[in-house]
Amino acid sequence: MAGRRVLITGVSTPLGMQLARRLEADEDVKYVAGLDSKQPTGRLDRTDFIEADIREPSELAVIARTRVDTVVHNNILRRPRSGMTSQTAHDINVIGSLQLLAACEKADTIRSIVVRGSAGIYGSEPAAPQFFTEEMSRLYPLRTRFQRDVGEIENYFAGYARRRPGVTCTMLRYQPAIGTSLDTQVTRYLAQPLVPTYLGFDPRLQFVHEDDGLEALIAAVKRPVRGAVNVASRGTIGLTRLLRMAGKPTLPLPPQLFGAATASMQRLGMPALSADFQRLLRYGRGVDLARLTDEVGFRPRFSTAEAVADYLRGRDAAAPAASGHEASVPP
């Protein structure tokens, strides 16, 4: 295991930078390369930064020259970044993955590829299994654009893994992430002053705490396994309980009006809710973690409820006494 050479795509994202720092500090890892289209905001010590657009084959040609044995694909966008069209996000996700694989074909040193994919491929369905296991990814049709993107990405990597039996491809299926250092759909949703919900629905949600998400990624780099692996913190939490813990006023909307109402709230400056996230808010989703714990050998430290509580503590500490809530409770 010593002398590993690792390349991380999407290294300028918070998770990408955390991963690069951890690998830098790891003496088993001889070399770390980070690829992204923009410079990382934080400081990285010995990471070899490669500025490249993942969609451009000519810019990815350097991958073969880095002679890495492991590629961590951390450049799949859950939602378009601010100012980005959904078409661009689709291109980065699908064309980017395709070009990355094409570049990997040319690099014969590669032994494993770890992809930070999404549990969105399971969808959110009213009568779904309460805990999806990895082989249940095709139970339901892929309904949203993001789901279809994830489906295609998984197909590309599965095809590559079939053609190159010497390379171990790990498809990590992440549940939505939550954490104070992250800016995800979940954290944006919880940051709204008034939180829209589906009237009469209380879905079971499952998140991955940012620490669990990072540790799972490191565990998969250290011990790659073939095929898909679900990644999440343990257990689920009801949306109602979550919003009560967060102390958020809710705006329950009838399902027929939800899309239109949130779209007009978006014009008032509220964050956009992706089609996937809207379905999640109605039907929820839980995944099974047996493969992650038994085969990758990583047991999440947080339960989903603890992850939420930890996030709320961190958020309240960052904005002290803003609500006056603490002050009114006698010691």
């Binding site: 309460q130 589906y198 009469g200 209380d202 939490i237 009114s328």
Partner: protein
Amino acid sequence: MSESRDRASRPSVGDATVGSAIGFLRRLRSGLEAGAELPVALGSAVASLPQGARDGVERVVGRRSGDYQEDDWGFDEEFAEAVFPLLEAMYDRWWRVEAEGAEKVPAHGRSLLVANHAGILPWDATMMSVALMRHHPLPRYPRFLVLNWAFDLPYVSVVMRKVGGVPASPHNAERLLHDDQLVAVFPEGVKGAGKDFRDRYRLQRFGRGGFVELALRTGAPITPVAVVGSEEIYPKLGDNRLLARLTGAPYFPITPTFPLLGPLGAVPLPSKWRIEFCEPIETAQYGAERADDRRLVLELSERVQETIQRKLYENLVKRGSAFV
């Protein structure tokens, strides 16, 4: 918390003559006027209530701030306990249920309850829960599989999962059994749910025996259960294909009260019920690999079906007239 309550209650000693409800409201208002948020104000106002009411309100306040537990399946024991008296009232007064053989249900470990079923709403499953909670020496809440479509209904879906309902999927059932739960299934499925009134208590085909495969794979004993009364609560006279397609429902029932009386049509008729739990059938001796043995699966499935059908007829005779 208790310290602060004591301190807050001291000034209220003088209010002892005031009715506790008025005292409560007065303290609540003063709390709110002092700028406290609702849960906090409620919390301090509770101090003026008698102990019993105080516990109740504290639980409500706790729940309002998200201080409650749901297990991974969304089962909410506190909620289930809170609605239990309501279900008991249905059990005693509305349906006058008589239960028999509850003690035969295995007291611990994985176990499957298999029963007849009609209608979408799982009233029969909740009444089986009440029977077990009351008459079993070691009571536990069963989990029950509910017709998938019901999980797309607002409110209904939430209440069902909080009292132990789970979408009917073999994956869910198998996982619950692996967790050593007591699981109630209704193998008639959609065919049972859409049964006509004239077909009441005539068991529909038990699918392809999926519940037996489950039992074999997990080694869970099967307890057949005959429920008499549940098939008269929504006497389905016919159904409307067009409305079913428009609402996305598996069928659109026409009963004497629905859709004529609108939502009131969802009130079940007060038939008289009998629930009989039969002798459990062990499956562990066959081994998990026999789950693929079609002959064994169909044989056991038929045995269960025959037992339930026979017990249904027996209990129909014992019960006598349906409504009085």
